[in-house]
Symmetry: C2
Subunit: 337 residues, 2 copies
Amino acid sequence: MRRVPARNPRTPTGPGASATLADVARGAGVSKTTASDALRGHGRVSDATRRAVLDTARRLGYTPNRSARSLRTSVTDTIALHIPEFLTSAEYYMSFVFGVAEQAARAGLNVTLVSSGRLPQADGLILCDPMPDNPVVDQLMTAGLPVVTAERYGGDSRPTGVIWSDHETSLTELLDHLRARGARRPALIASDSAADWALTLQHTYDRWCAQHGVQRLLRKAPFGSSPEVLRGVVGELLAEAPETDAIVCAADGAAAAVLPEIRSAGRVVGEDLLLASCVDSLAMRTAEPPITSIDLRPRHMGAECVRLLCEILAGETPRGTTRTLAIDMIVRASTDS
Amino acid sequence: MRRVPARNPRTPTGPGASATLADVARGAGVSKTTASDALRGHGRVSDATRRAVLDTARRLGYTPNRSARSLRTSVTDTIALHIPEFLTSAEYYMSFVFGVAEQAARAGLNVTLVSSGRLPQADGLILCDPMPDNPVVDQLMTAGLPVVTAERYGGDSRPTGVIWSDHETSLTELLDHLRARGARRPALIASDSAADWALTLQHTYDRWCAQHGVQRLLRKAPFGSSPEVLRGVVGELLAEAPETDAIVCAADGAAAAVLPEIRSAGRVVGEDLLLASCVDSLAMRTAEPPITSIDLRPRHMGAECVRLLCEILAGETPRGTTRTLAIDMIVRASTDS
DNA sequence: ACGATGTGCCGGAACGTTCCGGCAAAGGAG
DNA sequence: CTCCTTTGCCGGAACGTTCCGGCACATCGT
């Protein structure tokens, strides 16, 4: 049990060491209190003094020590971010992450990634697409931190804030669009996941079918299914139900992955089979033909989550607030040739 | 200049408040020093005492306050991560991020995202695919922190550590493979970027052509080019140089994006035109036909960067260490029908 | 003249850790 | 027995910040 070799914890006194508040105070000829007040904009400080402090701070390259600050105030200026690990949705999640990162930077917040259940010290938490059957998610939900979720959470606990998109309306719009383009028997390749998003899509499809008096053509593929699996599902669908004249794919990327299978079934997309996706991506834009899809605007989603979290943390917005993020259908050649 | 409404900085004394070291010490009937030593495994503590401390700590749900710790020791147990913002490479970067996150969690480190130049307080920095002409990257390189880059850095400053892949060898292997499959005039659609990776590919291609006495068929597309642009480039290539019998695409996703263009030029991939990609992805696996490509193993790359950074921070590995990450060619139908 | 009010500034405690330098008791060598 | 070493523990300072509660001085109304 020997003591570790004493690493000197003192800041190196060379010019490389970052300046402390005391340095700034000394440099400006004021007390720590005044220096702090001047920098933070608190207290009563004359304009001349404030300027002097700000000036020396800049001159010395002063950066406040976040640890000290957060030790004192117990605010960390940090938000934690959890995203599900599905490479099929890499583009969506990556955009989301950038949205979060950018907005957080704008608000002066750090973003730290949480992968395991071990929650880093943070002021709040953003959960992207939380699935109630994910133990990590459940753990994070009940950690006592303010939580904002991107999309609604189907589990027991209530998030502190929610940003969600009205998939019901947009899928309805999409199905109406297909119908207007002549499709009478649209099928849904649903994502078999417990996520609220997936559930809503199925539910919406069911209702739409009922309202229009058409029989459902529903197939489920597990969330995060490989393209091979998806192709299999679509192949089966087209074999069993050749009357299918439109296919809507729920899962990210699925519609593009499924194109070859449709072709090899002898159907031609945009002509005798309409194809659409519930989530837009590069693959949809560049598929041949380009695929009509719903732009989920993940980047905005990320930014909005941060915004809401900040407002809740600042007490400007009540806990339990829920907001919608507008999403758009983008019509492309796959349904409009 | 009014004072802000005094938010009480004291920890709430209720049972919801997380226990402090002093609480643990009191609970175990020892001093803070002994409690700390017992928990950290430092100093000289009898087994009985250690057990008692560990026990009360668990009982009280003690979590060390990271801010206090890092204030005292000036280590933050945090690494900063920067990734370029190219949605075309979403899958690669996302995998990389998960590799980093996972390995960091294993090492007990937090990962914080850096988007702007504003560097969060961290012990070290990981730069993914740093491009020397990116001002943010340059800024981060010279911030004085230990930096590990994924792929080599072409700029002036030297990173503290580097993990890179031997693209020269793997591209050579790929070109040899194409030749063995009968291709005599392979073209390279290069990524026109200052990243070391892109440069190496071009250079390797040049050399290979020289060695085999074949004339180069090189086309450049700006890094992050839209699929439309890429298609244009390939269309032009096939029109201007119909003798092209193989195409290697450098950029992530490009090979798949370009497939329709090849088809509409009347060529059939895997038959009279071989197609390969320098970076593997879902799109390559699921293209029709599946596309031969080089698996860059981004997840391992991320993990290795963290590992190296940790070793350097611990002083186990000298600064300036450079390591290679093995990458593999995966042969698929696009070159092997 | 005097108190009241406001302005500008500061001393110093506190946040929760780590760890230096002790000190007392126990054990061992002579 | 004495002297020395080892073991087990602890007091308290320090890290850099925030902010409470002051204090001195100026200004102003009466």
